[in-house]
Chain length 109, copies 2
DNA sequence: TGAGATACCTTGACAGGCGAGGTATCTCGT
DNA sequence: ACGAGATACCTCGCCTGTCAAGGTATCTCA
């Protein structure tokens, strides 16, 4: 079973922010965490992930720095900004509302 | 408070099918029911609604007939097909899965 | 040496939502 | 009689997020 990202459209940013709430991280790791947390049912495509990073950084919700690993592939590390924390909090509230709404609209009355 | 339709993207079809599960209906009425059920928090835009009807009919999940009202504006009535009923059932299952997934990905661990 | 993992990136196509515009009928107050 | 507002339908074209497909570079291990 694998869930379509189209049904999660608009939540990508929030999912990423939620990961960054645990602390600084980087793309590849975040992606594996999401896959693991979903039990393999869902995975963010790379293009979607990196597009989202650009969007989030442009919006001022995250900021990035290049890692200084002396070996291995280079990593770009991301951190949430205070604005990002606000955004995450707000988005979680919106999710709860959306969830209740869809329950009402889709489930038996 | 008003919820963005972007967060509901992909659920429009299911919301409409769910309305038609109650029996034959028409666009304007369905739209008002959705608004009412959401307590005014959400409303399907007309362009979205009629686009969805086309999509659903092309997919064979609903079928339509023009009403024979002898007064008032003309109405186009829609009914679910057996395929539509299957689709609705499946979509409701997908919603439950998506809901659990987002709970896991967005809420505190 | 080469496969596979790690790690990043961009481009262009596609699909759904919707703003803006349109049509036509009926009711009700002035 | 006339205009506003409700009822009821429709289409065109823009915008935005997803993602397939392509790319780069490093490291490990057989």
């Amino acid at each position: 079973m694998s869930l379509s990202s189209d049904l999660l459209r608009g939540y990508t940013d929030t999912i990423i922010l939620r990961r960054l709430a645990e602390g600084e991280s980087y793309g590849y790791r975040i992606n594996r965490e999401i896959t693991a947390l979903s039990g393999g049912a869902f995975e963010l495509k790379e293009a979607t992930l990196y597009t989202a990073f650009r969007r989030l950084e442009n919006a001022g919700w995250i900021c990035s720095r290049w890692g200084d690993e002396e070996s291995g592939a280079r990593r770009r590390y991301y951190r949430m900004t205070p604005e990002g924390e606000e955004k995450l909090k707000k988005d979680c509230g919106t999710w709860r509302e959306t969830r209740e709404l869809l329950n009402r609209l889709l489930m038996e009355e």
